[in-house]
Amino acid sequence: VAQLIWDGLFVGSFYALIALGYSMVYGIIKLLNFAHGDIYMLGAFIGFAALTSLGGIPASLSIGALLVVMLLSMALTGTAGVIIERLAYRPLRGAPRLAVLITAVGVSFSLEYGISAIAGPNPKAFPVRLEGNVFDLIGARVSLPQIILILIAAVLMILLNFYIQSTSTGRAMRSIALDRNASLLMGINVNQVITRTFFIGSALAGAAGVMAGAYYGKIDFLMGFIIGLKAFTAAVIGGIGNIRGAMLGGLVLGFVEAFGSEWFGGQWRDVFAFAVLILFLTLRPTGILGERVTERV
C-alpha cells in the first residue's frame, strides 16, 4: 500500500502542476486552454535543446544544470503562453465560447506539429537522466530523483499559492475571476493580469515538462496530449478555477489511478479513474473545492 501511495503521489504531482495552468486560465477567462498540455511538451523540448547545446555535463552537476535549464524553460514557455494568448485568444475574447475553444484546439495542433516539423517526429532521449539510489521507505521503493521532483513541485505550488493569496496581482486575479467588468471599473489592468496568468500557468507546465523529460528519459511531440487530458480531469475533480482544488485534484487522480490499477489490473486503470470522475461529478458537479455557481439574474 505504501508503494501505491508513493506512486500516486509522484504521478499526482505532475498532474497537479499541469492542472494548475488549466485551472488558472479557466478561472480568469473561462477558457479551456487545450493547448496547455502542449506547453508541457514545449517545455520538455526547450529543456532538451538547452541541455544538448550545453554538451556533456558531468553527473555531479546534473541536478544543478537541470535546475538552471528548468528555470530557462519556464521563462520561455511562460513567454510562449503569453504570445499564444496575445495572438490567438485575446482577439477572440468577445467571441462565443466555442470559437475560442476551437482556437485552443488549433493552437494545440500547431504546437504539436510545429515541433514535429522543427525537431523531427522521432522521440528523443533526454540528455540528462536523473537516476539515483533507490531505498526502502516503509515498504515503498523510493528513489532520490522522485523525492527531488516532488519537492520541486511542492515548492512551486507553495510559491504560487503565496502569490495568489498575498500579493496585489494575486488579489487582482481573484477579483477578475469573480467579475471581470467590475474589476475593470475598479482600475485593475485586466489585460496585464491575464497576461501574467498565462505566463505563470505556462511556466509551471514547462517546469513539469523538463522534470518529466529528465525523469522518464524520453520526450516526443505528442507527449502533452494524454497528460493534458489527465490534468484537465484533475482540474475538474478539484473544482476548475480553484488553485488549491487543482493541486488536490492532481493528487486525487494520481491515487485513484494507482489504486484502480492495483484492484482491477492495469488495463482497467483508466476505466476506473474516469468512472470515478463521472460518479464524482454527478454527486458534486463543482468538484472538491469548487464553489457553487449562483445563477445571476
Binding site: 508503494q3 501505491l4 506512486d7 509522484f10 504521478v11 505532475f14 506539429y113 514535429s116 523531427g120 517526429p121 522521432n122 522521440p123 532521449a125 537522466r129 537516476e131 533507490v134 521503493r141 528513489s143 518529466a212 522518464y216 528519459g217 524520453k218 516526443d220 505528442l222 507527449m223 496530449f225 494524454i226 497528460i227 489511478e257 494507482a258 490499477s261 492495483e262 489490473g265 492495469g266 488495463q267 486503470r269 483508466d270
Partner: protein, 394 residues
C-alpha cells in the same frame, strides 16, 4: 492541402525550376494534377503509380519515413533500369497517421489518384479499414509491415502480407521461451490491434504448449510516460521473462522503469519495438533485451551495399521496415511485369504464382491465405545499444 499549396506556388514560378525538382515533389504534383486522367488505371501511357498509405504524421511517423525511403529506393532503382512494361514507376505516398479515419481518407485518395498496387500499411489498426477500399477498386495490397492476423482473417483476395504474421511471431517467441527454459512469462501489450494480437496469440500458444506459465497478461495505455502501474503488477507476478508486444516508445520507458524498480528477470520485445531509439530511451536497462524480429539490414549478411545505397540516397540510416518496403515495391514491379498488365486481377494472379522471388526475408512463396510460408522470425538481442542476432531459431 500540402500538394495543392505547393502546386499553386510552383505554377507561379517559371516552369524551368520544375525540371530540377526531385522525383518526390514530382510525385506530389502528379498526384494532384492528373487525378482525372490517371483515374483510368489501365491506361498504358505515363508512369505506373504505386500507392503507399503509411504514417507520415503522428507517433509512428519515424517508421513511415523509413518505409517511404525504402520504397523510393526500389522505385529509383527500377526506373534506372528502364521501369516496368516500358513505363516508369511513381510512388504516391498518403498519410495514415496510424489512425483509422486518416488511413481511410488516404486510401481513397490513393485510389482516386489511380494507383495500381498498394505497398503501404504499418499500423494494423489503421490498415484494416483500408482493405475494403482497395478491394472494391480491385487494387492488390502488398502489406510490408502491418502483421495482425486480422488482416488476413477477412479473406480478402487482394491482401498479401510480406511480414510474418502475429501467429508466426508468437511461435518464434514460444520456441525461444522453451529453448531458454523460461518458466514464467508476463505478456504486456499497448491495446493496439497489432500488439493485442501477439499478446493473445502468444498466450494461447504458451498455454497450449504447457512448458511455461503465463503469470500475467495485461495492457497499458500508449502515449503516457508513467508506467508504474504495470511495473508494480510485473513485480508482483515476478516472471522470469516479460514479453512486451507494443511499440518502442512505451517499450523503452517500461524497460527503464522495470530496471529502476529492481526487476531481475529478462525482457523480450516484439518487432514493433525494434528501433535504435529503444536503447536510448531505456538507457542501460536495454542491454540484454531480446526481440522477436524478422531480419533487419543490420543483422543480414551481405546487406552492406544496400545500406550504403540507402545512406547515399537519403543521408540517413535505414530503419525498421525499410527493407520490407523496398521488397514490397520490387515484388509489385515483378508481379506487374509477370502479369504484363496493370489490371488488378492479373497482378493478384501473378502474385499468387510467384515462387522463389528473392527478398531480404528469403525466397518468397505465398501460402493460400496470402501470408509468408515461413515468418522468418529470429531472435535479436541488444548489445552495446544495438540489436544484433542472438538466435536464428533454425
Amino acid at each position: 492541402m500540402k500538394s495543392g499549396k505547393r502546386g499553386t506556388i510552383l505554377v507561379g514560378i517559371a516552369t524551368a525550376v520544375l525540371l530540377t525538382t526531385s522525383a518526390c515533389s514530382g510525385g506530389l504534383l502528379g498526384g494532384g494534377g492528373d487525378g482525372a486522367a490517371g483515374g483510368d488505371a489501365s491506361g498504358d501511357s505515363g508512369p505506373i503509380k504505386i500507392g503507399m498509405v503509411i504514417p507520415i504524421s503522428g507517433s509512428s511517423a519515424p517508421t513511415g519515413e523509413y518505409m517511404k525511403n525504402g520504397a523510393q529506393l526500389a522505385i529509383d532503382e527500377i526506373n534506372a533500369d528502364g521501369g516496368v512494361l516500358g513505363r516508369q514507376l511513381e510512388l504516391d505516398v498518403e498519410d495514415e497517421a496510424c489512425d483509422a479515419q486518416q488511413s481511410v481518407a488516404g486510401a481513397n485518395k490513393a485510389v482516386s489518384n489511380g494507383v495500381v498496387v498498394s505497398v503501404g500499411g504499418y499500423c494494423s489498426g489503421a490498415t484494416l479499414p483500408t482493405i475494403p477500399i482497395f478491394q472494391k477498386a480491385g487494387i492488390p495490397m502488398i502489406i510490408p509491415a502491418a502483421n495482425s492476423q486480422d488482416l488476413v482473417n477477412q479473406g480478402a483476395e487482394n491482401v498479401f502480407m510480406i511480414n510474418g504474421t502475429g501467429k508466426q511471431q508468437s511461435t518464434a517467441a514460444l520456441t525461444f521461451i522453451k529453448k531458454e527454459g523460461f518458466e514464467t512469462v508476463a505478456i504486456v501489450d499497448d491495446n493496439t490491434s497489432y500488439s493485442k494480437d501477439i499478446n493473445t496469440e502468444s498466450r494461447a500458444q504458451i498455454e497450449e504448449d504447457g512448458s511455461a506459465e503465463v503469470v500475467l497478461s495485461t495492457s497499458v495505455t500508449a502515449g503516457e510516460s508513467d508506467y508504474s502501474a504495470v511495473v508494480r503488477d510485473i513485480m508482483g507476478a515476478n516472471p522470469a521473462l516479460v514479453y512486451w508486444t507494443g511499440y518502442y516508445q512505451e517499450g523503452g520507458l517500461i524497460i527503464n522503469q522495470l530496471k529502476n524498480a529492481g526487476f531481475a528477470g529478462q525482457v523480450m520485445v516484439a518487432d514493433g519495438s525494434v528501433d535504435p531509439s529503444l536503447s536510448q530511451i531505456a538507457g542501460a536497462g536495454a542491454e540484454g533485451v531480446f526481440a522477436t524480429m524478422t531480419q533487419t539490414p543490420d543483422t543480414l549478411e551481405g546487406a552492406e551495399d544496400w545500406i550504403a545505397n540507402y545512406k547515399k540516397a537519403f543521408s540517413s540510416d535505414p530503419g525498421p521496415y525499410s527493407t520490407q518496403s523496398y521488397d514490397a515495391v520490387r515484388l509489385a514491379a515483378e508481379a506487374i511485369d509477370k502479369a504484363e498488365s496493370t489490371d488488378g486481377d492479373d497482378i493478384i494472379k501473378a502474385l499468387e504464382d510467384i515462387d522463389g522471388f528473392q527478398m531480404f526475408s528469403g525466397p518468397l512463396k505465398f501460402t493460400p491465405e496470402h501470408t509468408l510460408s515461413s515468418g522468418g522470425f529470429v531472435i535479436l538481442v541488444v548489445k552495446d545499444g544495438k540489436f544484433v542476432l542472438e538466435d536464428d531459431l533454425s
